[in-house]
């Protein structure tokens, strides 16, 4: 497989069409129609938009959880339909919005599951080798959950669980990290923490990051590029300055907001006029 780095795009999407079938949302006609977009390598891309605009759907198309009806998704230049699920998992890590766990797995075990794509398929016993454990340990340290390694998933807080899921994603050694609402359940302190960690991973390791978020301010502060989705169409894409504009947000969200400048970064800041 010829994987060229520096081609400039982690993902290239051409004429993507996807609609949920009869079993899906049921609101007929919803979906992506001939969507084109690109995720630049080494960048942080924020996907924003109202509820039901297709943000999470797009992420799921990126990792073959959903399959498009037509069009092409290229991952580092390679047709995604020709990349095996295992191969995708070695290149792209996905952190879901919420994950329930009814069984008493420990945080350590959860993080180590990120090594699965590196083991042979159907490998029943497949002991984690020392390298895997080492990697898991570092990822847990990085995400500040190493002291929770032996605790059960159900025993830790939402924020700790979220960080453990991030650690699991890092253990996959991905080139692209996809996050669905990474800060949804976190308090301010941990929101800031996650935002900083993502920036650092991006800057130090060249990790491409795609964040789906409701939090316009987080997106504005954190991301190099933003993509504003509405009803399955890209309304606007570009730098935060280009996307987070009063008239654009009013058109998409249907309500007036105040957009001014962040006192430190100068990036757009959104607040509600109450």
């Amino acid at each position: 497989m010829s994987r060229q780095s520096g081609s400039g795009a982690a993902y290239t999407i051409q004429s993507l069409t996807f609609t949920y079938g009869r079993s899906g949302r049921g609101s007929g006609g919803w979906g992506f129609h001939h969507l084109d977009c690109e995720v630049g390598e080494g960048k942080i891309l924020g996907i924003i938009g109202p509820n039901g605009s297709g943000k999470t759907t797009l992420l799921k198309l990126f990792i073959k959880i959903l399959k498009p009806q037509s069009g092409m998704i290229r991952l580092f230049g390679k047709d995604l339909t020709e990349v095996s699920q295992m191969e995708v998992a070695r290149l792209v890590a996905f952190v879901p919005q919420e994950s329930q766990q009814l069984f008493p797995f420990t945080i350590g075990e959860l993080v180590l599951m990120g090594r699965f794509p590196y083991h042979r398929p159907f490998d029943g016993l497949g002991w984690e080798n020392p390298g895997d454990v080492k990697l898991a340990r570092r990822a847990m340290k990085e995400m500040d959950v190493d002291h929770l390694a032996e605790r059960q998933i159900s025993e830790v807080s939402g924020g700790e669980r979220q960080r453990a899921l991030l650690a699991r994603a890092l253990v996959q050694e991905p080139r692209v990290l996809l996050l669905d609402e990474p800060t949804a359940f976190l308090d301010l302190n941990h929101q800031l923490d996650i935002a900083r960690k993502l920036r650092r991973l991006n800057q130090e390791h060249g990790l491409t990051v795609v964040i789906v978020s409701h939090d316009l301010n987080l997106a504005s502060q954190c991301c190099d590029h933003l993509m504003l989705l509405h009803n399955g169409a890209i309304i606007r894409a570009g730098t935060p300055q280009e996307v987070i504009r009063q008239e654009v947000l009013k058109e998409v969200y249907g309500c007036s907001v105040i957009v001014d400048q962040h006192p430190q970064s100068g990036n757009p800041r959104v607040s509600l006029p109450v």
């Binding site: 959880i65 890590a93 075990e109 159907f122 898991a136 032996e150």
Partner: protein, 397 residues
């Protein structure tokens, strides 16, 4: 890996100080080189003894449970209508192993009782209990539901219907000297499991209650069909069917044991082989896919395997409920949720559990024997209700 920029951790120093990454280490992209340079490997791993399942821990837990199972089997050999002391049991066992048939006969009546009556039945109970518990573990992981097990989901009654049909039509007896009854039961179980699978696909996140409801309906449906079959069977056959349906273990023929063992060994090997994907599947379909698991293929494989094992068990032992739920739950609390350990330990514990239950069944009201299904239901029913109530308080379904 050349110039690929993958996410790779730098060594400990970098992590602690968050210092800028060196150019060469970015391009190295190899985990091994990073590890060798640190040289603290042994201590690092020893720091987290239970973080991962090591071969050593696996072996020690498995040998522990094997020893415990052997002890339970030995104790159960002493119980029965005719009590036989532990010493005598040991002597006859040794004599039989050493001298074969001659040794058993030289041990007299106890030798015959131990070798030809109790041991085969205990082996049957062990195999049946072990496979029910193993299938329970797999189904629970697959459906992400700690209450799932073949009996509750209606898979056992599906299998029972298949076997009843074969008995009624008189086609289930032998084909080339091997009983085809398990295959009929397999077909019935597969039918039931397909219904469960369709339901689990239709609802993306299946609630416990939906699944239990599906099981109740399937059980009612198959019970009705079985009742119908019994009602048109001749009285002698009908009585035999009833007894079998209640979940009865009897002294099996040698070849019955061998046939069962073949089915179960195949089934268990497949499940064990899938232990890691099963771990990942408990995270849910989408997370599992994102980690590289071929979800649909593995689900189908586990469902078919479960039907096969359940079919083989039901065709010989009838409906024995709740073993597949009580045992995995208890074992999970002790050894954790990792299926590489959970599956074999639950299978061994399930075997030991049913051996004890069957010993109770044949001795509690001796010389009258209870169906072992009655004993497991008496233990499992209240436990099921307890789980349902306790879960309701804790975990949102």
């Amino acid at each position: 890996m050349g110039n690929i920029r993958k996410f790779v951790f730098q060594d400990e120093q970098d992590l602690m100080s968050s210092s800028p990454v060196r150019e060469n280490s970015l391009s190295a992209g190899s985990l091994d080189s990073g590890i060798k340079s640190i040289g603290l490997l042994e201590e690092d791993i020893r720091e987290m003894p239970t973080l991962f399942l090591s071969a050593k821990r696996w072996l020690s837990v498995i040998s522990g449970i094997i020893l415990l199972s052997l002890l339970i089997v030995l104790v159960c050999l002493t119980f029965g209508a005719q009590p036989i002391g532990m010493g005598v049991v040991m002597q006859t066992l040794v004599a039989g192993v050493r001298d074969g048939q001659a040794g058993i006969e030289s041990a007299g009546v106890p030798g015959v009782i131990v070798w030809q009556v109790r041991l085969p039945r205990i082996l049957l109970a062990f195999l049946v209990g072990g496979s029910l518990a193993g299938v329970g573990v797999a189904l629970q992981a697959l459906l992400r539901n700690p209450l799932a097990e073949p009996f509750v989901l209606g898979i056992s009654s599906g299998a029972a219907f298949g076997a009843t049909l074969a008995m009624l039509l008189g086609v289930g007896n032998t084909f080339l000297g091997v009983s085809t009854l398990p295959l009929w039961a397999f077909a019935g179980g597969l039918l039931a499991i397909m219904v469960v699978y369709r339901i689990s696909v239709a609802y993306r996140m299946l609630s416990v209650h939906t699944l239990l409801l599906a099981g109740v309906i399937l059980n009612a449906l198959f019970s009705a069909l079985i009742m119908f079959a019994i009602s048109i069977a001749d009285p002698t056959q009908a009585f035999k069917m009833m007894l079998w349906l209640m979940g009865t273990l009897s002294v099996p023929e040698f070849w019955t044991l061998v046939t069962l063992l073949v089915y179960l060994a195949c089934g268990f090997l497949i499940l064990f082989w899938l232990a890691r994907p099963l771990n990942i599947l408990t995270l849910g379909d989408e997370s599992a896919r994102s980690l590289g698991v071929e979800v649909d293929r593995i689900k189908k494989l586990v469902f078919v395997t479960s039907a096969l094992v359940t079919g083989a068990v039901v065709s010989i032992a009838g409906l024995i409920g709740f073993v597949g739920m009580v045992v995995p739950h208890a074992v999970r609390m002790i050894v954790g949720a990792d299926h590489r350990l959970l599956l074999p330990v639950a299978a061994l514990a399930g075997g030991a559990f049913l051996t004890v239950a069957d010993t109770v069944a044949r001795t509690a009201l001796a010389p009258t024997e209870l169906p072992v299904g009655v004993v497991t239901a008496l233990i499992g029913g209240p436990f099921f209700i307890y789980l349902l109530v306790q879960r309701r308080a804790g975990v949102p379904f």
